[in-house]
Each structure stands twice: as structure tokens, then as C-alpha cells.
């Protein structure tokens, strides 16, 4: 992990660049696979973190609330990882359903037997 002990965040774009570099540096393969799903959420979280920093600096929010907000931002980022895992499995199921939907319709249209009632839904 890079040394961020002297980092000073002044804009969402600067923070977003650092976050992307950190994620891509940790796992190039994961980033390449999930970039399209994660980028929008990462951008929103970077903007939110900079807003929280500015609000704390200006005294609009106190330390206790800032800690709660940042804990929520961290939790949302952790959930984003879970979201990518779920969407990978959902995509696999959709591919399976797509393939066997075609086979199911083929069998149904030739034989009248519906082997996949979840996938083949003839209009009555």
C-alpha cells in the first residue's frame, strides 16, 4: 500500500484518482472485471467524502456526525464489493436461463412438452 500519510484532498476528482489507483494497484484483474459496475459508485463516494471533509472544516457538522457519515460511506463501499459478487452470479444465471430458454422453447414447439415452465411461458 502506498504512503498516504501526507495526502491533502482538495477535490472529488483528486480523491477519485487516488482511489482508482489504489484499487487497480491492489488487484488489476478485479478492477478490469468490475470497473464498469464500480466506477459510478466510487465517484459518488469520493464526492461524498470531500463534502464531509468540507462540512467538518467549516463547522457545519460536528466530529460525531462526521464519524457516523464516514462509517456509512465505508459500509457503502464494502457493500459495493458484495454487489459486484451478486451481479456476477446473477449474470451467470441469466446466461443459463437464456440458453435453456431457447432449448425449452425448441422442445415445446416440437413436442408440446414444457420441460422448463420457469423459462417457457406460452401465452394461453
Amino acid at each position: 500500500m502506498a504512503d498516504f500519510s501526507h495526502v491533502s484532498i482538495t477535490s472529488p476528482d483528486q480523491l477519485l484518482g487516488l482511489l482508482k489507483d489504489e484499487v487497480a494497484g491492489t488487484s488489476t484483474q478485479w478492477w478490469a472485471k468490475n470497473q464498469s459496475t464500480v466506477s459510478g459508485y466510487l465517484k459518488a463516494l469520493a464526492a461524498a467524502a470531500v463534502e464531509t471533509q468540507a462540512s467538518l472544516l467549516s463547522g457545519r457538522i460536528g466530529e460525531e456526525q462526521a464519524a457516523m457519515i464516514l462509517a456509512d460511506q465505508k459500509a457503502a463501499l464494502e457493500q459495493t464489493i458484495q454487489f459486484t459478487e451478486y451481479m456476477t452470479l446473477a449474470l451467470a444465471q441469466m446466461l443459463l436461463d437464456g440458453i435453456f430458454g431457447i432449448i425449452g422453447w425448441g422442445i415445446f414447439n416440437r413436442t408440446g412438452i414444457n420441460l422448463f415452465p420457469d423459462l417457457v411461458k406460452p401465452v394461453a
Binding site: A44, A54, G62, G98, F100
Partner: protein
């Protein structure tokens, strides 16, 4: 080997493979109630976020008037979570997907709860970064609940 007896066995095996393949092996099937409840909660959440960013929640006293709407969102998410937790699955991958779906709905509920507690304790200042975690968590929960819809 008796070919006359072998063919039906192959046919039965093929049919079983097809039936197995048609099961929810990687993710649970789409559930309309789950989608309705998760999306309904997300729409309420979007309303909370918009009001907060417009400055309607800057005073903590504004919480009382909104409290029933927070309760409504949490009730919808509780139904969605129970619905997701009981979706039928086939195999470990689909069980994992179901657990992830439950976790995503729970995450949305946790962020709504945290946002409501902040509202009651401090008020919510616009552009303080408080709305985004709730919106992100609930957006992901709603997308996950709808993900299998196109498969139908």
C-alpha cells in the same frame, strides 16, 4: 448392451440434466414481491435524500414529521429481506447469491437507520456527504432485486 433399454435411460438422464440446468443454480429466480418492496423503499429513500439536499432536514426537530416515512421504508425492507431469505435455490452458488441479496437489502436498511438516527440527533446538512451512502446502498439493493427480471 441392450440398445432398446439404453436409449430410454439416456433420454431420462438427458431430461434430468435439462431439468437441473433449468433450476436456479447461480442465483434465485426473480420475485415480484421482493422487487416491489425493495424498489418501494428505494423510492422513499430517494425522497429523503432529495429533501435533505434541499435543506428541509437541517433542524433535528424536522425528524418527528418524517419518522412514519422512515418506518414505512424500514417495514418494506423487512418484508423484502424475509422474502429474499426464503427464495428457493439449487446449490452453493445460488445460496451464496441469496445470502448476498439479503446482505444488500440489510445494508440499505442499516444505512436508512443510520441516516434517520443522524436526522433525529443532529439534523442533516445539505452537501455533507450524508445522503450518498444511503442512496448507493439502496440503489444496489433495488438493482439486485431486479437483476433476474430480464431472465423471465
Amino acid at each position: 448392451m441392450d440398445k432398446g433399454r439404453g436409449i430410454p435411460r439416456i433420454g431420462i438422464a438427458f431430461a434430468l440434466v435439462l431439468l437441473l440446468a433449468a433450476c436456479a443454480m447461480f442465483a434465485p429466480r426473480y420475485d415480484a414481491t421482493l422487487d416491489l418492496k425493495t424498489t418501494g423503499a428505494y423510492e422513499l429513500v430517494a425522497g429523503f435524500a432529495a429533501s435533505a439536499e434541499l435543506g428541509s432536514y437541517t433542524e433535528k426537530d424536522s425528524f418527528e414529521a418524517i419518522a412514519p416515512q422512515y418506518a414505512n421504508a424500514q417495514a418494506q425492507l423487512a418484508v423484502a429481506k424475509l422474502r429474499a431469505a426464503t427464495l428457493p435455490t439449487q446449490g452453493k452458488a445460488a445460496e451464496k447469491a441469496r445470502d448476498l441479496l439479503v446482505a444488500l437489502i440489510q445494508g440499505c436498511s442499516d444505512r436508512v437507520g443510520s441516516f434517520a438516527r443522524q436526522h433525529a440527533a443532529f439534523g442533516i446538512q445539505p452537501a455533507s456527504g450524508a445522503t450518498e451512502p444511503m442512496m448507493i446502498s439502496c440503489d444496489q439493493a433495488a438493482k439486485a432485486a431486479q437483476a433476474m427480471k430480464t431472465g423471465n
